[in-house]
Symmetry: C2
Subunit: 230 residues, 2 copies
């Protein structure tokens, strides 16, 4: 299960993105933890950080951290560690946060409207350029400069808005129909916030973020913790 060994060819000498195999999902989940910590260090003016120091701060094994960071093609120096600004930049580049991805959002209810309003997403490479809804009380206005359009205009997502990602924040009963329409309109990725399981399509990346499923996991852990305290 050495997912690091697969990335032997990732040294990037010319500054361009080279083709490499994907790191494992667990590695991809940990890299943003390191980025969050390193960003804080950078803001504090810290110049170097060792994997041991990161390990202590965020409670991940130091050897795991060194392995994870090796996918970046960066090596820490003995006793000194990694250069903080270089590590921050390498993490942002590797995670795709320094390249802007254009997205539209379908379903401008409270969650959809919040994602449009969340300027923080642009720090992570996501630029939401339009919203779509079927509710005439919502369409026609704009949120922070982002227009909210009628679903009938969804095909403009490519022709007018040049978007590659479709974000789905509709009620469960509409989720699959909306996914079909987004794929027909030409998106290459679906970010699905509903608990609905979408059919996979060739050439279309799907990422599910069901915050309700996360709630269920949290409730179970709370219950387990109560039971163990009795």
């Amino acid at each position: 299960m050495n997912d690091i060994g697969r990335n032997n060819n990732n040294t990037n000498t010319n500054g361009h993105q080279v083709q490499r195999e994907l790191p494992s999902d667990p590695t991809l989940r940990r890299l943003p933890w390191y980025l969050a910590y390193v960003t804080t260090l950078h803001a504090q003016g810290v110049e170097f950080v060792s994997s041991t120091a990161i390990a202590k701060a965020i409670n991940v094994d130091a050897s795991q951290i060194a392995k994870d960071l090796s996918v970046l093609g960066l090596r820490g120096k003995t006793r000194i560690g990694y250069e903080v600004p270089a590590l921050e930049k390498a993490l942002n580049d590797f995670l795709g946060f320094s390249h802007m991805h254009r997205a539209v959002i379908v379903g401008v209810g409270s969650l959809g409207a919040a994602l449009i309003a969340d300027r923080g997403l642009s720090r992570y490479g996501l630029n939401i350029v339009a919203g779509f809804d079927i509710n005439p009380a919502i369409t026609g206005r704009s949120i922070g400069g982002v227009p909210v359009l009628d679903m009938a205009r969804l095909d403009e997502l490519k022709t007018v808005y040049n978007a590659e990602i479709g974000i789905i924040t509709v009620p469960v009963e509409s989720a699959r129909d909306v996914a079909d329409k987004l794929v027909d309109a030409g998106v290459s990725a679906l970010w699905n916030f509903t608990p609905v399981r979408l059919r996979p399509r060739p050439g279309v990346a799907i990422k599910n973020t069901s915050i309700y499923a996360h709630l269920a996991v949290m409730y179970k852990r709370m219950k387990a913790s109560e039971d163990s305290n009795i």
Copy 2:
């Protein structure tokens, strides 16, 4: 890796919650998919559903579905399948969505405010009863009847608001400090929306929902899909 076999004692004859071992996280992630589908069927007036029909609709193996649903202590009938309303209720009960959990939220920026405004969360057992922030431009008002208070009043989360869950939607540099304060104030669970890795504490459940980490996974899948199309 049979995580179902551990749940032999889960038949619940008296209607009360019985102590049982936790299902695996993958099972817990799939159960909300079934619930979303079954809820749609219920709304359409469908009375029975088989695991084969669920499998076809949501693209999960039928035997996996039957295994997952066995943690509920329900059995489908041959040729007929599961009673839809009973299955919906059992899923809601098992996932903790039919019991209301009181929560406070720290960090009432765009995401925090959206979660407070999202009435949909109450359908999943989450009742956000107060928000906290350090910004005087935000505190003192209320969102949909939920008060937004100064952080100095955080200890009221137990004494006044009787909350058991603390939701963290602050900037990364404040996340760990806020987690400490929430635990000191007596919460038994932290729902962390920042990419910051929190220290585990005995008796406190932690669930991380870092939507930015999900973005990184989606970007990688898009890139892999592009590479494979060249």
